[in-house]
């Protein structure tokens, strides 16, 4: 579960990226995080990933208060989260296989298990035949899928995605959303930050809507929402 309790994030520059945000995401739930760029989506995700710390309020992940988490335990918490970044964050100095294997190596998996799990994850995103290639040789959509394979390879209980379909055409976006849905169906808690409202509309999941750092919507969207205003009603 992910819980925000009156969370405010103020950067050193004085800019308030999040103001008094509270919500709870149950284990096994899937939700979207939406809002204009600059509304605080990335900041919210960064707080969950412990790339930033809250200025006020509490962030709880898996019954752990992140404010009380020592630096030493940060890596362990991060291993519970698969993160799909907008810019993939793949490493171009190694093969697709080695990119996907990285979370397993970091977590200290036995070498015997690594091959099996990596191939399983690559198979899931239908890129098993490209395991030996350099990610640089792949298309944007394929790179994104490699990023997803890496995010789920160690079967984390949480899957976070920051604009995972930002640079993709609608068909690819739908495919990737379908993947997230499948992970959710096997029990993974999924939170996807996106401004692709059409996509959200089709998926019928809960949406957290941010505007200027405040949570202004927290519920399932109507069936035909096309504008912010429609979603604000929820």
């Amino acid at each position: 579960m992910i819980r925000f309790d009156g969370v405010t994030k103020r950067y050193d520059s004085g800019q308030e990226a999040l103001s008094d945000v509270s919500f709870e995401l149950d284990a096994g739930e899937m939700a979207f995080l939406t809002g204009h760029s600059g509304a605080g989506k990335s900041t919210l995700l960064k707080l969950i990933m412990l790339m930033e710390r809250a200025s006020a309020g509490e962030v709880w992940i898996d019954n752990q208060n992140l404010a009380k988490l020592s630096k030493r335990h940060v890596p362990l918490l991060r291993r519970k989260m698969g993160v799909v970044h907008q810019n993939h964050q793949l490493l171009f100095d190694r093969s697709v296989y080695d990119n996907v294997a990285l979370p397993l190596i970091v977590a200290g998996y036995h070498p015997r298990d690594i091959g099996r799990r990596v191939r399983g994850a690559l198979d899931k995103v239908k890129l098993l035949h490209k395991e030996k290639m350099n990610p640089q040789m792949l298309s944007g959509g394929e790179q994104q899928r490699i990023g997803i394979a890496r995010a789920v390879v160690n079967k984390p209980p949480f899957l976070l995605a920051d604009e995972p379909t930002g640079n993709l055409d609608p068909t690819l976006s739908a495919e990737i959303m379908q993947l997230f849905k499948e992970f959710n169906q096997v029990g993974v808690t999924v939170l996807v930050a996106t401004h692709d409202l059409a996509l959200i509309a089709r998926m019928h999941h809960r949406s957290l809507i941010l505007r200027d750092g405040s949570l202004i919507g927290n519920g399932a969207p109507k069936l035909t929402p096309n504008t912010d205003t429609n979603m604000d009603d929820n």
Binding site: M49, M51, E52, D62, R72, P75, L76, L77, R78, R79, K80, M81, V83, Q89, L90, L91, D93, L102, P103, I105, V106, A107, G108, Y109, H110, P111, D113, R117, G120, A121, D123, K124, R150, V152, N154, K155, P156, P157, E182, Q185, V186, G187, V188
Partner: protein, 336 residues
């Protein structure tokens, strides 16, 4: 995993069975240790491969380290050799008492025993005129001269070895005067001043070598540290991504520590080669020198134990430099 919908459902069930279910650490301690060891092996090999990929720059760094290691090592070896060359006279201060002519061997021996009881004397030895003549004859060029003399011109000599620790220059001079005043003694000679100067010079050289060793050791640490810092800067992105995935600082640091270790060992090995080459080159020169002077000078090199120590020191310094740089820079590299 996730191979078919069937597997998916099964995985789902497994997850609900185990409550929290999806567990990142569902492997045993033994298997963790095994994977930790295999990661060390992997990282050790990878960091060597990284050095080989850029052979010129790796070699340059190692050469700099090798020179920094060779200088103090060679200086220490040189001092050891000089100290050894002067070793026999160096360990003890020696006084020679040339006896009056006509003193018999029995009298000479008696005198030697008598002086052996003096304060600050560690031992005495009586050299009879005949013995002195024999030892002169064994020296290059003296045989003919000695033989051409009608009678043995050499007096008996009592050689007094003084215990050095308690001896000051003053004490030694007092002893010389005391010995010279003895009736049987014609001349008392002591080579104290020269020895003390030599001592002082060797002591000074040893101190200089120690300071130089310390400075160049720091130099090795800094060179490795700087190289590792550059390497960290080059792999910034990788470090941040790895940290985001849940890598500990120790995990991220590991390849850099190995790199430092290899730099240190590589530098030390090149230094060994340089030192051995220098010794070889000098041995040739010294051999021809010994030939001219008819003496036998043997150069002492590093030896096996010292060679191992040198490589070990290189490894430790390289590792230390890498550790200092890595722990500082990697902690600062947090995903933002």
């Amino acid at each position: 995993m996730f191979k078919s919908t069937k597997t998916n459902r099964r995985t789902g069930e497994n997850r609900s069975d185990s409550g929290q279910g999806i567990n990142t650490s569902n492997h045993s301690l033994a298997s963790r240790i095994q994977s930790w060891r295999s990661h060390h092996r992997l990282v050790a090999a990878q960091s060597i491969r990284r050095l080989i990929v850029t052979p010129i720059s790796s070699l340059m760094t190692m050469l700099v380290l090798a020179i920094a290691i060779t200088l103090p090592a060679a200086l220490n070896i040189a001092i050891t050799n000089v100290a050894q060359l002067t070793g026999q006279t160096n360990d003890h201060v020696q006084m020679s008492l040339y006896l009056q002519s006509g003193i018999s061997n029995t009298q000479g021996l008696k005198l030697a025993n008598q002086i052996a009881a003096w304060d600050n004397v560690s031992s005495t030895r009586y050299v009879s005129p005949q013995k002195a003549k024999d030892s002169f004859k064994s020296m290059e060029g003296f045989a003919e001269i000695i033989d051409s003399l009608p009678e043995n011109p050499l007096p008996g000599v009592v050689i007094v070895i003084m215990s050095e620790q308690s001896l000051t220059v003053n004490d030694a001079e007092l002893m010389r005067d005391k010995a010279a005043s003895l009736k049987k003694v014609a001349v008392a000679k002591i080579d104290l001043a020269w020895l003390q100067k030599l001592h002082a010079i060797i002591g000074l050289a040893q101190q200089v070598a120690a300071v130089l060793t310390a400075l160049l050791a720091i130099g090795v640490v800094l060179v490795v540290g700087n190289t590792i810092k550059l390497s960290i800067d080059n792999r910034r992105e990788e470090i941040i991504v790895t940290k985001l995935i849940g890598a500990t600082n120790a995990f991220v640091r590991r390849p850099f520590l190995y790199m430092g270790l290899w730099f240190g060992i590589g530098g030390a090995l090149i230094a060994l080669i340089l030192i051995h080459y220098c010794k070889y080159a000098l041995t040739n020169a010294i051999d021809s020198l010994s030939l001219v002077y008819g003496t036998d000078i043997v150069l002492t090199g590093l030896g096996f134990t010292n060679s191992i120590t040198l490589v070990l020191m290189g490894a430790i310094l390289g590792w230390l430099g890498a550790w200092l740089a890595a722990s500082q820079h990697i902690r600062a590299l947090e995903p933002r």
